[in-house]
Symmetry: C2
């Protein structure tokens, strides 16, 4: 009904597509979701866009966040083996019949842009995002610019090593941060006592010795990985997002203790560690922001 | 005598200051060096600049590379504990009485700019530099831009971890890449049999078992560190410089073998590993280039 000026941010996940309609200032006007499983997910994404356009009128611009490595021209996801058949190489500008080009970003890259725009790193220029979930992903902004890299892989922080002599992870990194911290490896790390980090953290909080020991080790490993990233990227702030970050202070407090021990603090400079602020909407916010920037819209 | 248009690049090291006079196209016109030890090193740097100016006329611009963390306004080194007394906070534009501002860069950052301009990464946009010497330093260019970070620390690749349970290094990183590879730790790593990596590599090449084992381990650790950096920064090329890189193929060949095992190569993309091309002049080249860029000179 409304004809209010707005931008659409789409975040395509393995199970759902989330869409936000935002003012150019970042205020949420409307949201939609739809399942993204099954072979007709592309039609359902189109349906979400059509539904919002019917309610709100046509958007100024559209941006897309999706898993995988984005092509350097930002028109598609160039590489995403396995999930979401048809995503690789799909030209979103053509598919959505958008009058203006639709930029496509890696989902973690988009989440970082979202957090800098409207989340827990507002106004920052040197930011890392670590998403701690089943696996471990991330993104980097340095000197005010999101890092892409040669094949769009920058920020794959799950695949830094914590143990050069360790077992290879899914992309051959020995003893990786993802394998040390990600939920997927918790059964192995706990002798099959835990399958879910939330339960582990709850039991650790109750003083259960095995849980406390595993959680301490997890936090120590995360801190060691953060220290590598601090010395390599020199951020002002590191945001932690994803399901494991829902532990909140049960994560942030022991993490601060580890960083007191491990972090290089030249001239007293200390990196701020904070929980990401936009939850699972960060990617949609960031996709929208990228579309506004790409097409030169003024951001109030 | 000549009045040929030129730019000066100064690289201040712990023992020597090197100065290059270059055309804006990067051709070397003249070079000077002077010792930088002792309390009067600042006067001697000024003397080098004066000597070149007398021979060549005044330079268009001057750039400086120096150890430590450069201030974000690029006018000084903000943090450099220990060596070169008086370097911290010295305003080079004022000290050299240069009519145009003199940018000051961290020496590894400058070396990377030099290598991209006139060295082994010419024309590349996604480049990491690792300097392998007594310690291990580095710098990163991503998407065509040199990374500085919040306090100018970006690229301190010596201080990423290879062993989260290891002993802390000089800035508290546990089991660091610097401690695994840098020449400074070779006595410890070899049970005091070696103090110098060149000798280690020579003996390894002769089939001496202890030397071969230590060198293999060193190369494996370097490869693991590189893999972390590849997945975090996504470079097209990694340059290796510094004394240890003088091993040439004795380093690059086994390193390639380790990377075949450890590197993530999405869609077959493989990072090129190469020896840096400008030796100990890279910093002076890069400092000159930064000064040209800062003042908007056309680079042929």
């Amino acid at each position: 009904m409304s004809a209010r000026e707005h931008v659409l941010g789409l975040d395509l996940g393995g199970t759902r597509v989330k869409a936000l309609a935002l003012t150019p200032g970042g205020e949420v006007i409307a949201r939609e979701t739809a399942p993204s499983e099954g072979s007709d997910w592309q039609e359902r994404v189109k349906g979400v866009v059509a539904a919002l356009s019917e309610r709100l009128g046509p958007p100024l611009v559209i941006g897309v966040a999706a898993p995988g490595l984005a092509a350097s021209d930002e028109r598609s996801i160039a590489s995403m083996p396995g999930r979401l058949p048809g995503l690789e190489g799909l030209d979103w500008s053509a598919w959505l019949e958008a009058p203006r080009g639709v930029p496509v970003l890696n989902d973690a890259h988009a989440a970082l842009l979202g957090e800098v725009w409207q989340g827990a790193a507002r106004g920052e220029r040197d930011v890392l995002l670590l998403t701690l979930g089943t696996g471990l992903g991330g993104a980097a902004m340095v000197d005010g610019r999101l890092l892409r890299g040669r094949v769009g892989r920058a920020g794959h922080f799950g695949h830094i090593t914590l143990d050069a002599a360790g077992a290879p992870d899914i992309v051959n990194t020995p003893g990786s941060l993802e394998d040390a911290v990600g939920n997927h490896s918790l059964p192995r790390r706990s002798g099959n006592r835990y399958t879910d980090t939330a339960t582990l953290v709850r039991d650790a909080g109750r003083g259960e010795p095995l849980a406390a020991a595993i959680w301490s080790r997890t936090v120590r490993d995360l801190a060691a990985g953060m220290v590598s990233l601090i010395n390599a990227f020199d951020p002002a702030v590191i945001l932690v997002g994803g399901g494991i970050a829902e532990a909140g202070d049960a994560l942030l407090r022991p993490l601060a203790g580890e960083l007191d021990r491990l972090e290089w603090r030249p001239a007293g400079h200390r990196v701020r560690i904070a929980k990401a602020g936009l939850g699972d909407l960060a990617g949609a916010f960031g996709a929208a922001r990228r579309a506004l920037d790409l097409h030169g819209f003024h951001i109030p």
